[in-house]
């Protein structure tokens, strides 16, 4: 599903990713861990296509297509989804309006019938109930004034509605209370399936107790320095990155 080869990327001329290799197959969930500033969000942004993240070498292949050649919106429409570490506030744009526009753009792209207002309302109601999101939030402007946890849940609602083939979750668990973590984990698990792949970026074992990954990777200084099974996350939890022979917070 996703194959990353020798990826080098810079931001503002500063190299952040330095020869990163990663392969995720359909049906798999991979966790990416690593110290602050190691390049996890940068990887997520490169996959989503954010401007200013310049790929200087290497390749990213998604479903045997050159992902890097695609526009941001084309990536999204062909099934790539990024749950943001810091979801962006869009003043004046109603959450419900936005969701409908996004979902219908995806449906149109897939050649499916666009939802009308009633159908969409029913669908949203079902999905948000599962995520414990109340209707009031839907009537507010997108992410504006949402608490940290509300923003993350809203990201999960978007994911549930857009049903992506490849989801990259950038610290979706950060800022969630214990109950919300469980709710979000259930949401992620509900989307697991043989046709889907997920890249879950996290600092904590907590989430991985609920969403058990097929593989765990450690990213440091812009490369994958260690990969293993779900046990690797437990090992990190015990001994930290220092136990891997890495500097703690190896950002510099």
């Amino acid at each position: 599903m996703l194959k990353i080869d020798n990826l080098h990327a810079s931001v503002d001329g500063k190299p952040i990713l330095n020869g990163l290799d990663l392969e995720v197959h359909a049906g798999e969930v991979h966790a990416v861990m690593g110290p602050n500033g190691s390049g996890k969000s940068t990887l997520a942004y490169v996959i989503a296509g954010r401007e200013g993240y310049e790929v200087t070498d290497g390749s990213v292949t998604y479903r045997s297509e050159d992902l890097l050649a695609m526009s941001v919106e084309d990536r999204a429409k062909s099934g790539v989804f990024l749950a943001f570490q810091y979801p962006v506030e869009i003043p004046g744009v109603g959450s419900a309006t936005f969701l409908k526009t996004a979902v219908n753009a995806a449906r149109k792209h897939r050649g499916e019938k666009e939802y009308d207002a009633m159908e969409f309302l029913r669908l949203v109601k079902e999905k948000r109930a599962a995520l414990g999101i109340d209707d009031g939030m839907m009537r507010r402007a997108l992410n504006v004034g949402f608490s940290g946890g509300e923003k993350k849940r809203n990201e999960m609602l978007q994911m549930a509605l857009l049903e992506p083939a490849l989801a990259v979750l950038d610290e979706t668990d950060s800022g969630l209370d214990i109950d919300a973590l469980k709710v979000v984990a259930d949401g992620i698990n509900a989307l697991r399936g043989p046709e889907r792949a997920m890249l879950v970026i996290t600092h904590y074992q907590r989430l991985l107790d609920h969403v058990v990954p097929d593989r765990v990777h450690v990213l440091a200084q812009g490369r994958i320095v260690r990969s293993g099974g779900s046990g690797l996350a437990h090992e990190l939890e015990r001994s930290g990155y220092a136990g891997l022979g890495l500097e703690p917070s190896a950002a510099a």
């Binding site: 941001v72 919106e73 999204a76 989804f81 869009i90 526009t101 996004a102 792209h109």
Partner: protein, 437 residues
């Protein structure tokens, strides 16, 4: 060559017979007022060397040739109005003249009195003298044209304590006609103590022809009364619009202005607020959207003469292509106006590198115990916001449109009347929909 202080403007004097056709001709006070206006306007249009007109040049207006005022105006079809769906009482002015066929005054709510200017002048000239008979406001150059040439208008009054539920619509429509036309409507609004009214003023035109509308709207709000004033300016691409709205607030009065300016080749919306009584508040919300080579100017003067008044101004707009925007916001706090609370904000989204906004805040504060602030931002839609929306599959155009719409909607959400708000939101959406791909 220095810019001229005034721009010569060959605005025709009414023909001998036509002057007599202006309503109220022969009333000595009115003849004197008109003569004063004519004398002031004979200097021409204000030039860019005048501080208040520094960023807005009326030179293209001066190049137009208008027929003499007071000539009869042929009946014309104005087409549908933007606020028709709202219903309720309405006055329609077509090509500057009150048009009974398109007006609805048969069902006036209790406590509301509405008369055409001509009617009022013939029924009760002494009362009208009390309302408009003073000299040209501030010696203002555009008000001078209005004083000299106003051929129509209306007087709106509420009885003390009257709570008028239905909004009153005042529609000024340009109908497809022949050749350039100008009108100088004079509108007087007086709210009795403790009364409430919503006024919806719209300036609309289908015609691409050159028109000049120069309304002077004079508002007086009695003690504890509240006026919500919605204004839509959506005239055609050949139109010039120079409006002065001046509002005086008595103690504990409240004035809300919700302006949406979309139309005209050049439009200036000047609002003067004067606090005469303590505890009064005003909220000025102005939205502007311009593209092509449109020019839109918002100029406000808020005169805090007495203590304990509050003014809030938020002007937000979107400029595309080579459109130009101007925001001039002056706040004057007199020496005795302690505890004044005045805030002003101007924010502009620039959708093209050639679009421009000139913002000039001016705070003149002579009291020492006040809270006053101003702020301004201008720039492209934020890259973070665009990326977020595109990462959800919205193409760049849709993402920009959504951000622009949200930017304007934030302002219009404050419009209290639901029907009026819906119309304004639809106007914004339509403006965005007209964008070139």
């Amino acid at each position: 060559m220095p810019a001229p202080r005034t721009i010569p403007f060959d605005y025709p004097a009414p023909k001998a017979g036509a002057a007599a056709a202006l309503p109220g001709a022969g009333l000595p006070w009115l003849d004197a007022l008109r003569a004063e206006g004519r004398q002031l306007s004979a200097d021409g249009l204000p030039g860019t060397r005048m501080e208040a007109w520094k960023y807005t040049s009326l030179a293209p207006l001066a190049a137009l040739a208008f027929p003499p005022p007071g000539e009869p105006v042929a009946e014309a079809e104005p087409g549908a109005g933007a606020f028709d769906t709202i219903g309720g009482p309405a006055l329609a002015f077509v090509n500057g003249r009150l048009d009974a066929r398109h007006s609805r005054l048969d069902t006036l709510p209790a406590g509301l009195r509405v008369r055409g200017l001509a009617q009022a002048l013939s029924d009760d000239p002494a009362q009208v003298e009390g309302l408009i008979g003073d000299t040209v406001p501030n010696g203002d150059p555009m008000a001078a044209f209005n004083a000299a040439f106003a051929a129509d208008g209306c007087i709106v009054e509420t009885a003390p304590g009257a709570v008028v539920d239905e909004p009153l619509r005042l529609r000024f429509a340009a109908a497809p006609g022949s050749g350039p036309l100008a009108w100088h409507p004079r509108v007087v609004v007086r709210l009795g103590a403790g009364s409430r009214l919503a006024l919806i003023e719209s300036h609309e035109g289908l015609a691409g022809e050159a028109t000049w509308s120069n309304p002077l709207v004079d508002v007086g709000i009695g003690a504890g009364a509240a006026l919500s004033h919605v204004k839509l300016q959506a005239e055609g691409a050949g139109a010039y619009h120079t409006a002065l709205t001046r509002t005086a607030l008595a103690a504990d009065a409240r004035y809300e202005s919700h302006l949406l300016a979309l139309g005209a080749r050049l439009a200036r919306h000047e609002i003067h607020i004067r606090f005469d009584g303590e505890g009064a508040r005003c909220l000025l919300h102005g939205g502007y959207m311009a593209r092509g080579s449109q020019h839109v100017d918002n100029t406000t003067v808020i005169d805090h003469r007495v203590p304990h008044c509050e003014s809030r101004e938020v002007y937000k707009g979107v400029l595309d292509d080579t459109a130009r925007g101007v925001f001039q916001g002056r706040i004057v706090v007199h020496r005795d106006a302690q505890k004044t609370d005045g805030h002003q904000l101007n924010r502009t989204l620039l959708l093209s590198p050639k679009a421009e906004i000139d913002t000039k805040p001016e705070l003149e504060i002579y009291a020492d115990d006040v809270k006053c602030s101003h702020g301004a931002t201008a720039g492209e839609p934020e890259a973070d916001q665009l990326f977020y929306l595109r990462s959800r599959g919205l193409d760049l155009r849709t993402a920009r449109a959504l951000i622009v719409e949200g930017f304007m909607n934030e302002l219009l959400e404050a419009v209290g009347h639901e029907g009026a708000r819906a119309v304004l939101l639809a106007q914004v959406a339509a403006w965005i929909g007209e964008a070139r791909p």
